[in-house]
Symmetry: C2
């Protein structure tokens, strides 16, 4: 199989960058003596996730019960399902636990806690539960000082379902400077440790303290009191992460390969056969320091076409334009040429495809990794 | 199977609305004595597309060669692949034609025309070609007055590959008023007829004149000279189409069903288990008269929660907020409740799923339609 035989658009992974990204976070967390529980929501692919564990299996975080099913079948038995649980998913959770999966679920309310306790009582099973804690107001969870936190933990502890706490410093995606990211990481850790101590003072044991986001995982200076770190997009990285200086553009391991289907010098446009169906509609860089439209453009050999971005998309068409200044189309761009587009958000772009084509250190097509989607 | 047994998020189709939308466009085009060639890129599902043809097969438009393969297997042999062709896809086109598919391709340059002619000569096959014409500057195609148009059509005609022209009035998506949409439709038709006459004056026969977009298809008053009309999103409709008054909110046949996983009165937030992975990242209403965020919120019974929208999303989480004014959360929204989200753009939202769950006239779960994605 060669690159030339592939129909565009397709998804390319640069293996040396992918491996280097994995190594970077592993090294950092090893030095801090804290294990990683990678979030497989980005990759959703067996060979890709196995690469994180050197071919083995290890603790993972999942964003859907379909991920839980798939990775359980392939030997990944230590899992956290990191989306607040609801009743319609409890029978599925039960099936997984009965298959031998050590699946932890998360929740943030008395209602959910009472439903889980009642479900476990009725079916005579144990579903280990983490309480989600909010450390920066960015999304879900109970605040560290919340009175509800004590009520919920007691309900779960009494039923012997309480396993610990989970935090996600989503606010760190807005941190531009190194010191801001270091502070966000320390805030995530300190909040976690504070909550753990509050629970222990009330006589509630809190064995698991799970924290993480890609920015805080890379910039944490101390992880005392934390039992594990989660991160997802770090294996591929993307323009959003480059914009907040968690990685450089050269670290981005994922790109969409596309073909030029039209050149319109009078408009300064290049038309490509990658629209939002391939690139995703993610505009994560729109509110950042550098807006990359629907993605930054590289030539077929991976060299940046400086300042050229995918400016607009329809389902299977993309329009490339120069961001600023000249609208003169690079004279060497012709109909039929291949280009590569770096993604704003690797999780979103990867989810538009059912496979990855992997380039080795020489840039040769070496492997095809299938991935899955949906619920 | 009942709705209660389904895990959220899932995709719901309201069959009476879907059928009414199909009937509306069929009636309109019948009255104008012009056949429809529906664009199956929205549905990508056999039972859904068969419903358009009363259970039969008919002429279709496809956006990927995977759609071409799938629908050919199921008897849909008259197809247009409506994305500008490139060389890496010609072997696939050849396979389809050799299987008996009457597959028309499109292009807009001498380079593409010469490549197709050479490919056909080498492989001794006929690939019928339409030239893409630009009627409103919105995306691809040659303008009606373009000198290149005559060169390209001659290259194709000489090789006996030229079949006609294809236009898409993408600019009609910006037409708010009825008269603007009527004018866009007439411009699309008149441009097509002008080009056809220009070609015929040069001695080039132009049997196919294919035009269409969902707004112009519904607002065309006359289709003289046009041989067929294309439209895609009209079967489901969506908030983008409602915003430009092509349909009403009550016509939208597609919604994402989700469960409340958190209620934060202090922030005026409702958290749901549908993030961008379910809703898509499409923000098509952002630049329209009414911005619906990532979608408009209905209660479980389908009644609008007036002014509540999905304000932000992460992969598997959505944050619902009231658009304006009060942030008081409706007192009857509780953790565990089901809500429905109307999509900004039905093509994008549907593509996040691999199946549709179909509600009959009584709102009961009556069918499951599988759909496919990717290339």
């Amino acid at each position: 199989m060669t690159w030339d035989a592939l129909e565009t658009p397709y998804l390319r992974v640069d293996r040396p960058r992918f491996d280097a990204n994995i190594k970077r976070l592993n090294c950092h967390l090893s030095a801090l003596k804290t294990p990683l529980r990678p979030h497989v929501k980005t990759l959703k692919s067996l060979p890709a996730v196995k690469a994180i564990f050197n071919g083995g299996t290890g603790p993972i975080t999942v964003s859907t019960l379909k991920e839980a099913d798939f990775f359980a079948e392939h030997g990944f038995l230590d899992q956290i399902y990191a989306v607040g649980i609801v009743q319609n998913k409890l029978p599925h959770v039960k099936r997984l636990i009965e298959q031998g999966v050590d699946l932890k679920i998360i929740l943030e309310s008395e209602t959910q806690a009472l439903q889980v306790v009642e479900f476990c009582r009725m079916h005579d099973i144990v579903i280990p539960v983490l309480i989600e804690i909010d450390c920066d107001g960015s999304r879900a969870g109970l605040t560290a000082e919340s009175p509800t936190l004590m009520d919920v933990s007691k309900i779960l502890a009494q039923a012997e379902l309480f396993k610990g706490i989970l935090l996600h410093a989503g606010g760190s995606y807005g941190c531009m400077t190194r010191s801001d990211k270091v502070a966000a990481a320390e805030n995530e850790r300190a909040t976690a440790v504070y909550v753990k101590e509050r629970l222990e003072l009330a006589g509630i044991d809190c064995p698991m303290v799970s924290i993480g986001s890609t920015p805080t995982a890379h910039f944490a200076q101390d992880l005392t009191g934390v039992t594990e770190v989660r991160a997802g997009v770090y294996t591929f990285f993307d323009l959003v992460m480059a914009n907040i200086n968690v990685c450089s553009l050269d670290d981005i391991a994922l790109s969409v390969v596309t073909t030029v289907i039209g050149v319109k010098p009078e408009k300064g446009w290049i038309l490509i056969d990658a629209g939002w169906m391939a690139l995703s509609r993610d505009r994560g860089t729109a509110s950042q320091a550098v807006d990359y439209g629907y993605g930054m453009v590289l030539d077929g050999a991976g060299r940046p076409l400086t300042d050229w971005i995918v400016e607009s998309t329809s389902q299977e068409h993309g329009v490339i334009k120069q961001r600023a200044g000249s609208s003169e189309i690079p004279s060497d761009v012709q109909i039929g040429d291949k280009l590569r587009i770096l993604p704003n958000h690797a999780c979103a772009t990867a989810s538009q495809f059912d496979k990855y084509y992997v380039a080795d250190a020489e840039g040769q097509l070496s492997e095809q990794w299938s991935r899955f989607n949906f619920w």
